[in-house]
């Protein structure tokens, strides 16, 4: 599948933003957030900024962005519509929580309840994003039970790295939060590793023979394409660029998004002041870069069944 940059940026950035909202929604009711308006401002600015950049980026993928509002109507059947509804709904409680925290220094009481609600909606939004892919039977690498937990754990990972960075820059690094982020980093890449190994051990159930219904006549293989030039389907579903480097790229993703953030986190635990802040920001940036590469691979390694009509043997 063609990895459209707008979609990669969307799921990575908004995943991190919703991940931050999930952590804020857990920490606020527990009374673990500082009653400090400025800190609240920067934490929510980063979280909602990432969410908003991601959502705006996703509209670049559309043929008619000006009609995007229509996507709120089909929540009964469409995961994409559900995602849009929950994405926008999340802003409401997050906004009320922000008013309480930023203007009244109060991340508690009713505002903490709003934080919890925003966190729940954020979980729902990320889950819907994952289900857009996981519900497609046409792509076996996506139609997989591990896709939903992977999206959620990556959101928790980048969200925890984001919140830790805000602490380190505007207050002081919190080792307990950094440790949670480190655990999230480990779980995210462990889960992804299991997913990758599973893909390598499986093949698709559909073949050129089932796609043409000609199995009874012998082996089926493509002789001629319908046209001499590439068409929309081949460009969109037949992406092949750098697929041969997939295994190396997986390793780079794990180093960039897994090993490097862990090293930065540990070094920031051992340092203080400006250095700790720089290391925390580096941990966040490398985590985001690794996640972006992981999303690129999620598309580039995905094979679509329509390619059975364009020369693929199984999908």
């Amino acid at each position: 599948m063609n990895p459209a940059y707008s979609v990669l940026v969307f799921t990575t950035a908004s995943g991190a933003g919703y991940g931050m909202l999930i952590w804020l929604g857990i920490l606020a009711p527990l009374g673990m957030l500082p009653a400090n308006g400025w800190f609240g401002f920067w934490a929510l600015a980063l979280a909602l900024g990432l969410v908003t950049v991601g959502l705006l980026s996703s509209t670049l993928h559309l043929g008619h962005p000006e009609r995007a509002w229509r996507a709120f109507s089909q929540w009964r059947s469409s995961w994409l519509s559900r995602e849009g509804c929950l994405a926008v709904a999340t802003y409401l409680p997050a906004g009320v929580f922000g008013i309480g925290w930023v203007f009244f220094d109060r991340p508690d009481g009713v505002f903490a309840l709003c934080a919890a609600l925003a966190g729940l909606l954020a979980v729902g939004t990320v889950a819907c994003t994952a289900m857009i892919y996981a519900s497609l039977k046409t792509v076996r690498q996506w139609h997989n039970l591990q896709v939903l937990p992977i999206y959620l754990v990556f959101a928790l990972m980048t969200g925890a790295l984001g919140l830790y960075a805000v602490y380190a820059v505007f207050m002081a690094g919190q080792i307990w939060l950094g440790s949670i982020a480190g655990l999230a980093v480990l779980s995210a890449w462990a889960l992804k590793w299991v997913y990758w190994n599973g893909l390598d051990d499986s093949t698709g159930e559909s073949t050129a023979a089932t796609a043409t219904g000609l199995a009874d006549l012998g082996p089926v293989s493509l002789l001629d394409l319908p046209h001499s030039e590439e068409n929309f389907l081949m460009k969109e579903m037949g992406y092949r660029v750098a697929r041969k480097h997939a295994v190396k790229l997986r390793g780079i993703a794990v180093l960039l998004g897994g090993a490097l953030p862990l090293v930065c986190l540990l070094m920031s635990f051992a340092s203080s002041g400006g250095l700790a802040a720089v290391l925390a920001v580096l941990a966040l940036l490398s985590g985001l870069a690794g996640t972006l590469l992981e999303r690129w691979l999620f598309f580039a390694e995905a094979t679509h069944k329509v390619m059975l009509y364009y020369g693929a043997e199984a999908a």
Partner: protein, 246 residues
Amino acid sequence: MTSLPKTPPAKRLGLVIDLDTCVGCHACVVNCKEWNTGGYPAPLSDINPYGDKQSGAWLNRVHSFEVGRGADSQTVHFPKSCLHCEDAACVTVCPTGASYKREADGIVLVDEERCIGCGLCAWACPYGAREMDPLGGVMKKCTLCIDRIYNENIPEAQRQPACVNTCPARARHFGNFADPDSEVSKLVADRGGVDLMPEMGYRPTNKYLPPRPKTKEHTAAAGRAALAAADPDGGFLGWLDRLLSD
């Protein structure tokens, strides 16, 4: 709207495609483009249509497959357009209600005014029935020529999809699959019509008739045997053969 009809459509209109008689001439492809670039989904745009690297939206394409191996192989031309599935995933994934299945006749259509061009329906279709219009930014697909089949301004004999009307080999048939006595239902019953990718569970309406088994005299082996050197069987040539063989 993007939920599928709750009760099965009263009519199930679709195509039967006969892979035995299709000669791979692409006339259906061209006539589909010609009619539809001026019809319901108009225009079907092209990028650089007369130059290098042209691309554009087409609703019907003919692929060619080699089936079998060696002397027993055969070429099967394979026309493919929307199959108007009963469980159409392209409809349920649509976030805007642009993609829908008609309750009256089961035809799957795109309301282009509502389409945001997200492309998700094309991702959901295993058959490659949907193509993004490169200039319009909206999804295009086979309409089963709804602007022909119900069109009272054209002669009754022509109220068929353009691809069916134009096929010189009569390899495409249009009809109502809900009626067991229709021509298409009978063809499917008589010739063992099949679903494409039945494992997907989308229950396509269109059916494909597999090529008939080859008779012995039409195989490549029979042709080669006919060309092999043979000795004359008696008569004058037999006498000459015996004379020259000595």
